[in-house]
């Protein structure tokens, strides 16, 4: 009876597996196919939480909690931080650099999945003992016993690995200033020497019509100047262009004025 119970799981667990397993696969697919990195990260976090539930269902109570704390709590939040740091200009280009690479990659993935599933299907997995005996003294106690006896050397090595990783991350991201910071005088002298943009950058907005910061200011000839808009807005492509509208309005106004006053155009008059 106990042997039979170990062979198949309870109906509740089967239901849980099919419902949450479907959601996990959907989450994994969304991770791969979502366009924005933030959406990918959130889908992956959902998949990881479901995997934590599966660990709990499989009797790995310690790992289930560690999965939630370490993966969804720490690692995914680290991912989100980096997405926010890198975010603005890091749009994934949809242009293919190698022709047909996407379809070939999808084909490879499909073939790989078929191979793995076929391999598992052909393997003789006749042994189902269940964790009842191994977990009899408590899952955490059982793990601790193994960790500090059989695997103690590997455990100490992971300590060294974690410290090395922390130092490595600091070395990679921390930039030591090797030269003195330039003073304001030196910076201004450099600007004069290079001979570009001595005065402050021109202001955005088209006066008398718009003064929003996302509208490029117009040059005397009526063309918009990209320089007037904030760099971040430029890289996001969020500049509103009203130059043609303004020019058309100006033309219509001149036309009306001309009609009413019945006199030659202002340019000709000034010549």
């Amino acid at each position: 009876m106990t042997q039979l119970a170990a062979y198949t799981t309870s109906t509740g667990e089967a239901l849980q597996f099919w419902v949450l397993g479907t959601v996990a696969v959907i989450g994994a697919l969304c991770t791969v196919f979502m366009k924005k990195a933030v959406h990918s990260a959130l889908c992956l976090a959902g998949t990881m939480i479901i995997l934590a539930v599966f660990y709990l269902a499989n009797g790995a109570y310690f790992l289930g909690i560690v999965q939630i704390v370490v993966y969804t709590g720490a690692i995914m939040m680290l991912f989100l931080f980096v997405v926010m740091l890198v975010g603005v200009t890091a749009a994934d280009s949809l242009r293919e650099t190698i022709k047909g690479q996407r379809w070939l990659a999808a084909l490879c993935g499909l073939g790989f999945a078929v191979l793995l599933v076929g391999g598992i299907g052909n393997a003789s997995l006749k042994e189902f003992n269940g964790l009842g005996q191994a977990n009899s003294a408590g899952n955490v106690q059982g793990l601790a016993e193994l960790l500090f006896t059989k695997y103690v050397f590997a455990f100490e090595l992971t300590g060294a690995l974690l410290i090395t990783a922390a130092v490595g991350a600091m070395v990679l991201t921390h930039r030591e200033r090797t030269e003195r910071a330039r003073t304001q005088r030196e910076l201004s002298e450099q600007r004069v020497r290079e001979g570009k943009h001595l005065p402050p950058l021109p202001a955005p907005g088209v006066y008398a019509r718009h003064n929003a910061v996302d509208i490029a200011g117009l040059l005397p000839d009526g063309t918009p100047s990209e320089l007037t808009v904030n760099k971040t807005l430029r890289s996001r492509g969020q500049i509103r262009d009203v130059s043609t509208e303004a020019l058309n309005d100006l033309k219509a106004l001149e036309q009306r004025a001309e009609d009413r006053l019945e006199r030659p155009r202002p340019e000709e008059a000034s010549k």
């Binding site: 990195a37 997405v83 993935g109 990783a165």
Partner: protein, 99 residues
């Protein structure tokens, strides 16, 4: 339900992660797909542990988590420093091994 189904799910997730690594070109998303593959391996290890009735599989899954945490820390630091020097997180742009 046969507990082998957990192995099938792990295989599926691993294949999806591998496909993502091949398809995507945003370095951060590629990295997330690698995490997905590691998680799939962990699920398989936990299922093996249950089948064989000992805790060694769970210990190995635990070590995988530690190594994955270290890997994420270093990998994200590399991505951030690459982004600083190249202003792009696309793996196509980092084609030269120089800054």
């Amino acid at each position: 339900m046969n507990p082998v189904n957990y192995l099938y799910l792990a295989a599926l997730l691993f294949a999806i992660g591998a496909t993502g690594v091949l398809i995507r070109r945003n370095a951060i998303v590629v990295f997330m797909c690698i995490e997905l593959m590691l998680n799939a391996c962990n699920l398989a290890l936990v299922a093996f542990s249950r089948m064989h009735g000992n805790l060694d599989g769970q210990i190995i899954a635990f070590f995988t988590m530690v190594v994955a945490a270290a890997e994420v820390v270093v990998g994200l630091a590399i991505i951030v420093s690459l982004f600083r020097s190249r202003h792009s997180a696309s793996v196509d742009d980092a084609s030269l091994m120089k800054l």
